[in-house]
């Protein structure tokens, strides 16, 4: 019984939250990795693109709430999501046209594109703060839980409860769908194949008549879809605050690099590796340990390896270890 309780506590505090967070990171890292694969630079504006997409979705959510559209028990934000994606995609195509295309035609060094993306990050950050403000916004209006901790206790008779939030469930389902569609697109469709060809060998792809501008456009649209989805899911699960999206940049980059920059499969694996390490290292293991260990050995302290304030240090440490031992990531990404 104690072991079962320990397992439920583990599920409740570690596995479920880490899976949801990992899915959000994976979606973010997929966007970064796609842009790296095709456009060959690290897009520092990705965190703020997520914030922008989430912001537009929130605005549409408010609009729909005002005119009374809802899909209870699911959050209205899911209806608003396609609109958010459309606006974000348009915004990204415009930034490509106004900013990145110039450097691409000049064949500028990747680092110049990184700097341009910094400028875009600044502008997006400013736009988001001007429009919606720097404060925290909650926009999750659906049913809050799929399973409540109290119901779970009554159902199973265990002393530990398991809470499964709707936002976590939605995150996991949407991530599976998005990844499945993305891989189908990359592996089965003509456009997807031309994208992979372009990413593997640019010159060869150009010789075989692939239109580079079309590949780039599709990449930005895919990145917009992934970034907006990731941003909205993160906002539903935690809360929307522009600055936290900027801070997500580090775990997202860590995920993409751990998996191998430019490798979509690696980005997904990296997302979960980072999320699980972050959650397990900052979780206070006292509860689980008390159940598992005999009474005489029960711990006095919290058994928390790191305070939660240092969660970014976890992604950073993993990043550094990977950079030292496997600079191209677990699933060998590409080098430039």
């Amino acid at each position: 019984m104690d072991l079962l309780n320990a397992f439920v506590a583990l599920l409740n505090f570690v596995i479920v939250p880490a899976t949801a967070y990992g899915s959000q990171l994976a979606l973010g890292a997929l966007g970064v990795t796609l842009i790296y694969g095709i456009l060959r630079f690290s897009n520092f504006a990705h965190g703020d693109t997520m914030a922008f997409g989430a912001m537009v979705t929130i605005l549409f959510t408010w609009l729909f709430q005002a005119i009374g559209i809802s899909i209870q028990p699911l959050p209205t934000a899911l209806v608003a999501l396609p609109f958010g994606i459309a606006v974000t995609a348009a915004m990204m195509l415009l930034t490509d046209r106004w900013i990145y295309r110039f450097y691409r035609e000049q064949k500028a060094k990747p680092i110049i594109l990184v700097m341009a993306s910094l400028g875009v990050m600044f502008v997006l950050n400013g736009v988001v703060r001007v429009i919606i403000g720097p404060g925290e916004q909650r926009f999750n209006d659906g049913e809050r839980f799929i399973i409540r901790a109290r119901d779970f206790k009554e159902m199973t008779g265990l002393s530990e409860g398991l809470a499964f939030k709707t936002s976590q469930g939605i995150t996991i389902v949407v991530t599976i769908l998005a990844v499945a569609v993305l891989f189908w697109f990359l592996n089965r469709t003509r456009t997807g194949k031309s994208m992979r060809a372009y990413s593997d060998n640019e010159d060869l792809a150009l010789l075989s008549g692939i239109d580079p501008e079309k590949v780039v456009r599709v990449t930005w649209i895919l990145a917009a879809i992934l970034a907006t989805t990731a941003g909205v899911l993160y906002g539903l699960d935690k809360a929307f605050k522009p600055f936290t999206y900027f801070q997500l940049l580090l775990p997202i980059f860590a995920s993409a690099i751990v998996g191998g920059l430019g490798n979509p499969l690696g980005a997904i694996a990296g997302g979960y590796i980072i999320a699980f390490s972050e959650v397990t290292l900052t979780y206070a293991w006292k509860k689980v340990a008390t159940y598992v260990l005999p009474d005489s050995m029960a711990p006095d302290g919290l058994v928390q390896l790191l305070s939660t304030d240092y969660k970014y240090a976890v992604s950073f440490t993993i990043l550094v270890i990977v950079l030292i031992f496997k600079p191209y990531g677990i699933f060998r990404g590409k080098a430039v």
Partner: protein, 431 residues
């Protein structure tokens, strides 16, 4: 040269106009931070302009400089030292020893399962030992009079010593980062520095025993006299009245001028040093490496080593600027370190001023800092005009007026993009 003199004159005019239209106090306050910004921009220019290294962790190095001022100049808290000072030092030594032992074991043993187990074992045992030593010591220190101290305090040395010390601490952090990320793909350094900056801030916010964390350390000693003392000194008051100035205003101006003198001395010394370095064989080697790494490597230059060297030097300058800034503020407030303000703004200064040119960075520092301060009132005025047709008290009007403070992010982003696109060599291009 003529054009450059004109540019510097133009920026000087901006400061003078601020003095006439707002107040000389404001103008001098902006000027002092402009001097510090120029030092930071010089540090970044060494990294980017000389060697093409992209450092987005400037905020972290600046914050380390700020930490140095507390460690050097704050009076030591005897009670806290008695409570756990020695124990915490032992714990830190154990922690460092663990890392060292782990690294040495990894390097000395032959690869294989035995080595992996040994390294993991060392880290696990070391971590447990470290925490058992560290936690009670930290709690004991933080329990000492937490509302006013609760930290170990500093060495009670003159605060000017903190400037070089800040540089040294920043250099140490830069060495660690450079060792791991340099020699890899160019964007890796960017990501690694972005990360280390966030972590340095997190440590400074949470390790209360070191510098009180978000509770801030206030009332740091000053290298210049206090306004109150000046107002009480009869000679100063007589001189101020003799010049036809109000003693209170004069004391505040005089303190700012003294600070400006100190900062300007550092800035001029740094410009002289960096210009000497740029025109030496070493500077030519650096530019050769920047322009063509492969060719430089073929000539027998150790590119990674030179990159590490320049990364450490540039970061040290940023650390020194950070120490200067905290000295000027008289307090260390880890909560106020924002990447947009301390990292990206400095980048805008370097790019706008002209990367690769030291004078350009200095100009960019003064110009962009002035703009950063003035965009808010100017933006506010514009927004007031724009929102004039809206009725008072309407939600939209209030929202727009509130958003003025965020407009400067937008402005800086637009300035960076425009300069990068239309004038990538900056206002004063590299020769």
């Amino acid at each position: 040269m003529n054009r450059n003199a004109l540019l510097f004159g133009g920026v000087a005019l901006l400061y003078v106009l601020t003095g006439f239209f707002q107040s000389w106090n404001t103008a001098l306050a902006i000027f002092n931070m402009g001097l510090i910004s120029a030092v930071m921009a010089l540090g970044v220019n060494i990294q980017w302009g000389y060697a093409g290294l992209f450092n987005v962790g400037i905020m972290g190095f600046v914050a380390l400089g700020g930490l140095a001022t507390v460690l050097v100049s704050a009076p030591p808290v005897g009670e806290a030292w008695a409570a756990g000072g020695l124990r915490i030092l032992i714990a830190l030594v154990v922690g460092a020893g663990t890392v060292l032992a782990g690294v040495l074991t990894f390097k000395r043993m032959t690869p294989g399962r035995a080595r992996n187990l040994a390294v993991i074992g060392i880290f696990v045992v070391g971590f447990v030992l470290y925490r058992t030593l560290f936690d009670p010591a930290r709690d004991a220190i933080e329990a000492v009079n937490p509302s006013v101290s609760g930290f170990l305090g500093g060495a009670n040395l003159p605060i000017l010593i903190a400037w070089p010390v800040g540089g040294l601490i920043a250099a140490g952090a830069a060495w660690l980062i450079g060792k791991t990320a340099l020699g890899l793909r160019s964007d890796y350094l960017a990501i690694a520095t972005l990360g280390i900056a966030e972590i340095i801030i997190a440590v400074m916010k949470n390790e209360d025993w070191m510098a009180r964390g978000v509770k801030n350390v206030v009332g740091l000693p000053r290298p210049v006299p206090y306004e109150v003392d000046l107002q009480e000194s009869t000679t100063f008051v007589e001189r101020a009245v003799g010049l036809g100035l109000d003693p209170a205003a004069a004391s505040s101006l005089w303190v700012k001028i003294l600070y400006a003198g100190l900062f300007a001395a550092v800035l001029l010394a740094l410009i002289w040093l960096t210009q000497m370095a740029l025109n030496s064989p070493w500077g030519r080697m650096m530019r050769a490496i920047r322009d063509n790494e492969t060719a430089a490597e073929a000539m027998g230059k150790d590119v990674t080593r030179r990159h590490l060297q320049i990364f450490v030097i540039g970061s040290a300058i940023c650390g020194m600027a950070g120490a200067m800034m905290t000295t000027l503020d008289g307090q260390l407030t880890p909560g106020t370190y924002q990447p947009l303000r301390f990292t990206f703004l400095i980048w805008v200064m370097v790019i706008v001023g002209g990367s690769g040119n030291n004078w350009g960075s200095v100009l960019g520092g003064f110009l962009i800092w002035w703009l950063w301060i003035q965009v808010e009132p100017i933006g506010g005025a514009i927004m007031n005009v724009v929102t004039l047709p809206l009725p008072d008290g309407s939600g939209l009007k209030e929202h727009l007026l509130d958003s003025v403070q965020h407009i400067r992010l937008l402005t800086m982003g637009v300035v960076l993009l425009l300069v990068l696109r239309f004038s990538p060599r900056g206002l004063i291009p590299e020769k």
